[in-house]
């Protein structure tokens, strides 16, 4: 079975110029931030936004560089990070998005998508075509649901 048979094509996405406030408003009714793809004008996937990248903007500019440097351990209190009301308009998705994208192709087998999710510890992955155009999103529940359907449970 292929990814395209299980993926969802109806996806909430944002542009790189969307403001932080716009982004937060858009997802205010969600309990957990879904995978939010960022696309350019040609619908090419250029990044994703997740909860961790939202917190990154409150940290010093260079803090991402220290993620894998030995001995750097920082305990932080997310309520104590530095914020200002102006951030809502000044910060845009382009400042926030994670450019390290793990994606799958629509023609990939479902088990490959499942393995990728396990390997990269993600619950959802963007689905793209050969040119990098965003086609949809596949989540771990989409795969589980297909599997139950195969077994005639649903």
């Amino acid at each position: 079975m292929k990814v395209k048979e299980a993926m969802k094509k109806d996806v909430l996405m944002v542009k790189r110029a969307t403001s932080l406030r716009g982004l937060l408003d858009m997802f205010k009714d969600f309990h957990t931030l879904p995978l939010i793809p960022v696309v350019n004008k040609d619908n090419i996937l250029i990044g994703v936004v997740n909860s961790e990248s939202l917190l990154d903007i409150l940290r010093p500019q260079q803090s991402r560089l220290f993620r894998n440097i030995p001995f750097v351990e920082v305990d932080e209190n997310v309520f104590d990070l530095d914020t200002s009301p102006l951030m809502g308009e000044l910060i845009i998705v382009d400042d926030v998005m994670d450019r390290n994208i793990v994606s799958v192709r629509e023609d990939d087998p479902l088990d490959k998508a499942y393995k990728q999710m396990r390997l990269y510890k993600k619950n959802r992955l963007p689905v793209v075509d050969a040119s990098g155009k965003l086609l949809g999103i596949i989540g771990v529940f989409d795969i589980i649901w297909r599997m139950f359907k195969e077994k005639d449970i649903v």
Binding site: P60, V102, Y120
Partner: protein, 394 residues
């Protein structure tokens, strides 16, 4: 006296855990606590480190320093240099090279130490401690151009320090192995250049090989085993051929980071398991502290601390002048770069095992002493500087 190495490891880990909790309250870095624990458990004092473990510190230090070098290689990528910027990179290079040169020249010409020993001491002194800078800036919510410059510098400068150290150690071991030092200067230099070139080649070849088979990785566990396997391969090949473990591991990391889109995952997987290795590594470094050597070398240690401070201040000043950085960076960056920790100790431990003579012990002991001093005063100096330049608002 404990003979069983596993029992000794158990005691070290539990005491290390308890001590790191304790010192956290006193705001002392964990590394200092581990080194102190090593001193306390060393044969001189409580004698709780088993002889097998102490003899195996060569094994641990090769693996741990290989891991450190590999991780530091991650930041030698075009992406990071673009983020950090040309100016900051320039300052970081001079702030690493000038203290190294200053210490080498003074130790060699004024203190009359052998040239290659002075070179190794100088290279070790160029290392800084990113952890202190990150923790202080975060704790006091330091914000501004100076803070960004400081963090940019410490994100890449330990890589320069490791390169300087790799080069120096390669020259030093060529000198010590050639026996008659006077006759073998040119031969030693040629030999070390070849070794350095080959170390880079090993790193690069393994990185290419690594990239070829990543498609076989299916699980998170696979990824860790795969990464460790290739890293051990590099460390093993280079150490058995007497090439530079540091340079090849760092180059391996750098090539991987520039060529593989998901390389951050491989670097990240090592972070899951590095904490216990670092603990044992620093305890063993501390256990090698020899009070007799240190008392004899007290004057040299004080000189080293002073020269390193002068070198860092001069180096940052020159770098900042060349790239026309703001006055605050020219004036104060050197002071903010004083903290020194893991990388310096790791290099000193490697130097001890590579040189395998009394000079090795001497280097390790003065490095431990100077590191402890810099680790204890470093955070205060960094905070003082950040307040002075106005990045910490009080």
């Amino acid at each position: 006296m404990i003979q069983n190495p596993v029992l000794s490891l158990g005691i070290i880990f539990i005491l290390g855990f308890l001590l790191s909790r304790l010192v956290k309250k006193a705001k002392i870095p964990a590394i200092t606590a581990y080194v102190a624990l090593g001193v306390l458990l060393s044969p001189n004092l409580l004698n709780l480190v088993s002889p097998d473990l102490l003899a195996g510190s060569d094994f641990f230090s090769n693996i741990v320093l290989g891991m450190i070098a590999f991780s530091l290689g991650e930041n030698l990528s075009s992406r990071v240099f673009k983020q950090v910027g040309r100016a900051v990179t320039g300052i970081s290079i001079l702030a690493a090279i000038i203290p190294c040169l200053l210490i080498t020249v003074i130790f060699w010409l004024v203190f009359k130490q052998p040239f290659y020993i002075a070179l190794v001491v100088g290279a070790i002194a160029s290392a800084t401690d990113p952890a202190t800078s990150v923790v202080v800036t975060q704790e006091y919510k330091s914000k501004g151009e100076f803070t960004d410059t400081l963090l940019g510098i410490v994100a890449v400068d330990d890589a320069w320090a490791l390169i300087l150290f790799g080069l120096s150690l390669s020259i030093a071991s060529a000198f010590t192995s050639s026996g008659d030092v006077a006759s073998g200067v040119v031969a030693s230099l040629v030999k070390s250049c070849i070794e350095i070139g080959l170390s880079f080649m090993v790193g690069m070849l393994v990185a290419v090989l690594f990239d070829k088979f990543t498609g076989f990785i299916n699980t998170v566990k696979d990824r860790l085993i795969y990464t460790l396997g290739f890293l051990f391969l590099v460390i093993g090949i280079t150490s058995s051929l007497n090439f530079s473990v540091l340079l090849s591991c760092m180059f391996f990391g750098a090539v991987l980071s520039n060529t593989n889109n998901t390389s951050f995952e491989f670097f990240g997987s090592l972070r899951e398991i590095d904490a216990p290795l670092y603990l044992i590594f620093f305890v063993l470094a501390g256990a090698h502290l020899n009070v007799a050597i240190l008392t004899q070398a007290l004057f040299v240690t004080i000189a080293l601390i002073t020269l390193r401070a002068i070198g860092k201040i001069l180096g940052s000043l020159c770098g900042a002048k060349i790239v026309s950085a703001p006055d605050s960076v020219k004036k104060y960056m050197g002071l903010a770069l004083l903290p020194q920790a893991g990388v310096a100790l790791g290099c000193a431990l490697i130097a001890k095992h590579t040189l395998n003579n009394s000079w090795g012990d001497w280097i390790l002991n003065i490095t431990i002493a100077s590191t402890v001093v810099f680790e204890l005063v470093g955070p205060w100096i960094t905070k003082f500087v950040l307040v002075k330049v106005g990045d910490i608002k009080e």
